[in-house]
Symmetry: C2
Subunit: 212 residues, 2 copies
Amino acid sequence: MNHDSSLVNRLTDRLIAGELRPGERLSETALAKEFDVSRNTLREAFRVLGEQGLVTHIPHRGVSVASPSTADVVDIYRVRHHVECSVLEHAPRNHPNAVRMEAAVEAAEKFAAEENWLEVGTANMEFHNAVVSLSDSRRLMQSFSNVLAELRLAFLKVEVLDFLHAPFIGRNKEVVEIYRTEGPVAAAKILGAYLGDSERQVLGAYARAGQD
Amino acid sequence: MNHDSSLVNRLTDRLIAGELRPGERLSETALAKEFDVSRNTLREAFRVLGEQGLVTHIPHRGVSVASPSTADVVDIYRVRHHVECSVLEHAPRNHPNAVRMEAAVEAAEKFAAEENWLEVGTANMEFHNAVVSLSDSRRLMQSFSNVLAELRLAFLKVEVLDFLHAPFIGRNKEVVEIYRTEGPVAAAKILGAYLGDSERQVLGAYARAGQD
DNA sequence: TAGCACTCATTGTTCAACAAACATAGACGG
DNA sequence: CCGTCTATGTTTGTTGAACAATGAGTGCTA
């Protein structure tokens, strides 16, 4: 684990950075050599990533980068609705981590001005992780973070990083503002509608890309 | 993985059956010999179980059966509140899987009559998994199932299987009935109160057992 | 008794090997 | 021409042995 958790992190970074494309086959011997670890150590990391949903493992056929289908996208948005909305709705007013949401919005705006869409995507993920952090639940945050990472693979799959995220920066901002001014319940309502729109947009991109 | 997923299952079975006690150290060589697999294969299984929260891994100190602290119990109940209540509240009326809930209640009643408390616990887990299955979300069900398994370890830790589950069979039944008659929203409310009581009871058991 | 060095056991990791499953290409027959 | 079957090569699944690195326990010393 000394190296192992570091290996998992290195693999995760390359996955969500899009260097390993969704659906791409991950050869054990090739990757082991590339990361300068043994096959056995790499396989341990694969099990972790598989459990997190970032990687798909089929017995005797090896692992490949997860390539979410439309069904997966729908499933992921179901999780988002339940988790994000419930957490936000029941969050106390003035939760300390609200500043995390605001910081994420600012970061997204900054990167958007630079047209650095990959970092905009990262800031967007951070925003929604911040929302879930209002639950003060380590497990909820962990599971949710995995699901969001999987969703990023969905974005990478249909290659629409840029215009897909840009319109939603403002809506993130709106959610925080409503949370501040009108409270959690109103903010949760806004967020629910937001997620619905987001889901439609991703599914639209899938349809255009002709993906399943 | 051919053997591996089977190995994970075998380990999981023994964990939630209480044959491996919470906090118990799991020696690699000993367990490998016991399950007749190599150390490397066992370590792969350990990574999966670690990611599921059933096992705790500390670098250079090996893995041990998860031994949830009171903080963990609180965290787990936070997840339960958010997930179970949100799913039930937004479930459609007459969801097909409602029969799963009813079947779980019947099973629990049957085992309770036999005073088979371990199976009562299993039926109780099945009930709550059934609730979450109303979300039609594979990921939500999977994550939630892991959390419930971890909670079972908490029960095992303080050794109060019997009287802890018995009183709640009736409340499971009540939740289904309200769901049938008054609908999801009313049922979710009942369930929320139920979970609050359940949490208090578990934390009480922890306090009595003098556990952290 | 507190600190310290030493020893021993366990984990972390690698390597080489082999069986088993799979994928591919070419031969064969309809 | 097309589908099926077989042979071959590749990849994964799994093992056992080996060694380094870390941690835990022990007994010594002051």
